[in-house]
Symmetry: C2
Subunit: 225 residues, 2 copies
């Protein structure tokens, strides 16, 4: 029985989009309540902080107010966080075809698992909020195994957890270098979905890695699996 490993963010569900809208909402609220910057200044500063600290850092708004005022402003931090979370949870949805395709893959007898760079509970929270968690036998996160994709170790640990071999497994993800190349290097097959890469870059991949399947959308998985 083949195993399909999925990335989560922007593979099963669109997080880049809601993160942007949620950050805009948070900045709106903070500026309306007295943060002495224009909307775009504040948004740009937040983006800088996210680039600097990474998106898994959980004190972006604390740092934003600290940079503006010289110390934290708890009211604005709370206003930002509440707005961010309200919008995020309102918008958190799987891609339109994610559920269909997961049901299809289960009906074909595949075993499914997740390999995600991110915090364990945060990634589980997304799966649980969307009721996707029952499809997956294992969820392997970089936090849990202390190794990030594309390093081989996280893929090897995932194969072990699923009690399978690389030649019987496929890695599906939206990031070529992180998900697909990482999987290939561990001996898996690779499928690139929803990548947003330029046509030039895609052609380069087609030339150098002809074994990689490239699809626009997770709904096309049933053409290959």
């Amino acid at each position: 029985m083949k195993v399909i490993f999925f990335d989560i963010d922007d593979t099963l569900l669109g997080t880049s989009n809601f993160a942007k809208v949620a950050r805009e909402a948070a900045i709106n609220m903070m500026v309306e309540n007295g943060l002495p910057l224009s909307h775009s200044e504040a948004y740009n500063l937040l983006q800088e902080i996210i680039v600097e600290k990474g998106s898994n850092y959980n004190k972006h708004f604390n740092l934003l107010t600290e940079r503006v005022y010289g110390k934290e402003n708890p009211m604005l931090i709370a206003l930002g966080m509440v707005s961010y979370h309200n919008v995020k949870f309102a918008l958190l949805k799987p891609f339109a075809k994610t559920l269909d395709i997961l049901i299809y893959l289960k009906s074909k007898g595949y075993r499914l698992a997740v390999i995600s760079n991110g915090r364990t509970i945060k990634q589980w929270e997304k799966l649980v909020r969307l009721n996707l968690h029952n499809f997956f036998d294992e969820v392997i996160t970089s936090e849990e195994v202390s190794i990030e994709k594309p390093n081989k170790g996280i893929f090897e640990e995932s194969l072990k957890r699923m009690n399978t071999k690389a030649e019987n497994s496929i890695m599906v993800g939206n990031k070529f270098d992180v998900d697909v190349l990482g999987g290939l290097n561990a001996g898996m097959d690779g499928i690139l979905v929803n990548s947003n890469l330029s046509e030039d870059k895609l052609n380069e991949i087609r030339k150098n890695y002809p074994e990689v399947i490239i699809i626009d959308n997770i709904s096309q998985l049933n053409e290959y699996l």
Copy 2:
């Protein structure tokens, strides 16, 4: 202009109640999804952990699964957390008369502030979600000043922040020893609301601290202020 300092939890809004319901919901979800305990066993274990670690510890569910399985179960932790937060935010409301009485006190010219034992952002989050934050000039938390009620220091710092003196201020809270006695020791007046103390204990307070006003409900504040 007199300053009135309020405690938050179970003074402005009822948190004991929603915490219980939210915990029950979380335990339900965890047991339904495989936690191998009865509902009451799991609930009691959670209560033990809360007593042991305090209610501000943010890994109660992690520890619960660790104690049951010998290691964390991220799916059950996420299911517990999501259920807890959904129920908590659905039930988070000020007491029926809180808003009326805050408007009344502002109309009488009082300045208002909050003194709370708890985490700064978590306490602000409650005020912000309920749109109560605009009533208060300052929110002083034990996390921020590293001193908890009933210690004098947090009251003194609060007086300083509000630029006022103890004799011009009143502390309003639901815990006699923590809020009211703490305020009295710092030289403030004290009002005990919503205390849930036995009639015997209340009579003892009436005898030993005749200057303390005791009311059942925050809505009765307008009889004294």
